[in-house]
């Protein structure tokens, strides 16, 4: 029971905000976030609630590793992480 997508906080305050992805917006509750979020943060949204912030550094690392894999043709993930 896991369907969640990353969305960006674009409006609102510490309790309720509007999040957006690909131009599509919905109100989300921030009640479940472990740390205070700010506008511009990416959060993972599940059933109308932000359940965590997206760690942008980790996301970028994943992106870089996948690019490398595609270039190199063989991936040895274990040696990278």
């Amino acid at each position: 029971m896991c369907l969640s997508i990353p969305m960006k906080l674009v409006e609102g305050d510490e309790f309720a905000a509007v999040a957006e992805v690909d131009g599509v917006r919905r109100e989300v509750s921030l009640m479940l976030l472990p740390q205070a979020a700010k506008l511009g943060d990416w959060v993972l949204v599940h059933a109308g609630y932000a359940i965590c912030q997206v760690d942008e550094d980790e996301a970028k690392q994943t992106l870089a590793l996948l690019h490398e894999a595609a270039e190199a043709g063989v991936l040895d993930w274990g040696s990278k992480k």
Binding site: M1, C2, L3, V21, D22, G23, V24, R25, R26, E27
Partner: protein, 336 residues
């Protein structure tokens, strides 16, 4: 007088007023203006008569990209158009809920008027009934339409052959996604129903000389269901290329949020056409010349249906092929 009352449906003075003030001026044509029991129509041009009907219960009745009035005209026009017919005349029967604001009714009337004008059809007869408050969900519309298929056009699922291509006139699932978004408080500037008449698209293929085998409009159940039905009737096997399915960014985002699949969401302004491989470029060029066909692409190919194969399958980016079923029950927004 700002709301629909039960008396508007009684057939008496208020009904007459409504017809003369709201409907006749909007749909202005000699047959309608007669306001007799039946519309008496000119003789039909040569060809086969095509006749179609549809009921419209869309909720919300006004949505980004359209409204009940527009969709009620487009739905029937499009059924006629994809059968190869030139749509001519429509009936427009309303069942209104007591208490419906007249302003809203006017929006529906204007929508029907503009869709009819775009499609080049006349609304020549209609009816109005009113049901008590609570029994009608604002408004329901039933339309029926008559068109003529010129004699040289032969469209049939059984004409589809191995090697033929499947093309679509634009992005899929936009209407269904927009309606779901409205119901689940999701908004977006780019979120818009694709509601619109498709008869210019269908005529464009014939004008270009494309040997169209058959056409369908992917409404309820979406592209997946429509293609399955065609494949069952035609006895062929369709393979859809996942990477070629045109989906708008907004529709894709709504689908991800709600756990839906765009292949199963309704389109109300798109055409699916099965054409010979050699004429794909010709057909797409004909569509690209029209604004409503700007996003047209080819996304499927017909193969032989050997025993044990499924009628429709999807070739994914990872090289696998999965069956694509008809819509099962209602596609419910998932949490899982």
């Amino acid at each position: 007088m700002k709301k629909i009352l039960l008396a508007h449906g009684s057939g008496g003075r208020l009904t007459g007023e409504l017809i003369r003030q709201a409907f006749v001026p909007a749909f202005e044509n000699p047959e309608l203006n007669e306001l007799s029991d039946s519309a008496l129509l000119p003789n039909l041009p040569p060809g086969q008569v095509a006749f179609s009907t549809d009921g419209f219960v869309v909720e919300p009745t006004i949505f980004p990209g359209g409204n009940l009035g527009e969709i009620s005209v487009c739905g029937t026009v499009n059924d006629l158009a994809v059968a190869g017919a030139r749509p001519l005349w429509l009936s427009w029967a309303l069942i209104l809920e007591e208490g419906l604001p007249l302003e809203k009714l006017q929006v529906f009337v204007d929508g029907a008027k503009s869709a009819a004008a775009q499609a080049g059809v006349q609304i020549v007869c209609g009816d109005t009934k009113v049901v008590p408050r609570g029994k009608g969900d604002e408004a329901f519309v039933v339309t029926a339409g008559i068109g003529v298929v010129p004699p040289e056009r032969k469209l049939n699922d059984k004409r589809i052959e191995v090697g033929d291509a499947l093309i679509v006139s634009g992005t899929v699932g936009d209407h269904g996604a927009t309606i779901l978004a409205c119901r689940h408080d999701i908004s977006g500037l780019e979120l818009k129903s694709d509601c619109g008449p498709v008869n210019r698209l269908t005529e464009a293929l014939f004008d270009a000389g494309v040997d169209v085998k058959v056409m369908h409009d992917p409404t309820r159940g979406g592209v997946a269901t429509t293609c399955n039905e065609a494949a069952e009737r035609g006895g062929h096997r369709l393979v859809i290329e996942a990477k070629d399915i045109p989906v708008s960014t907004a529709t894709r985002a709504v689908c991800e949020l709600l756990g839906m699949d765009p292949l199963y969401l309704a389109c109300e302004g798109r055409v699916l056409a099965w054409v010979p491989e050699a004429q794909v470029d010709l057909a797409l060029a004909a569509w690209h010349a029209l604004p409503e066909g700007a996003g047209a692409v080819r996304f499927g190919t017909i193969h032989e249906r050997t025993p044990g194969t499924v009628p429709v399958s999807l070739r994914t980016a990872f090289g696998g092929e999965q069956p694509v079923d008809v819509l099962s029950g209602m596609d419910l927004p998932r949490i899982c």
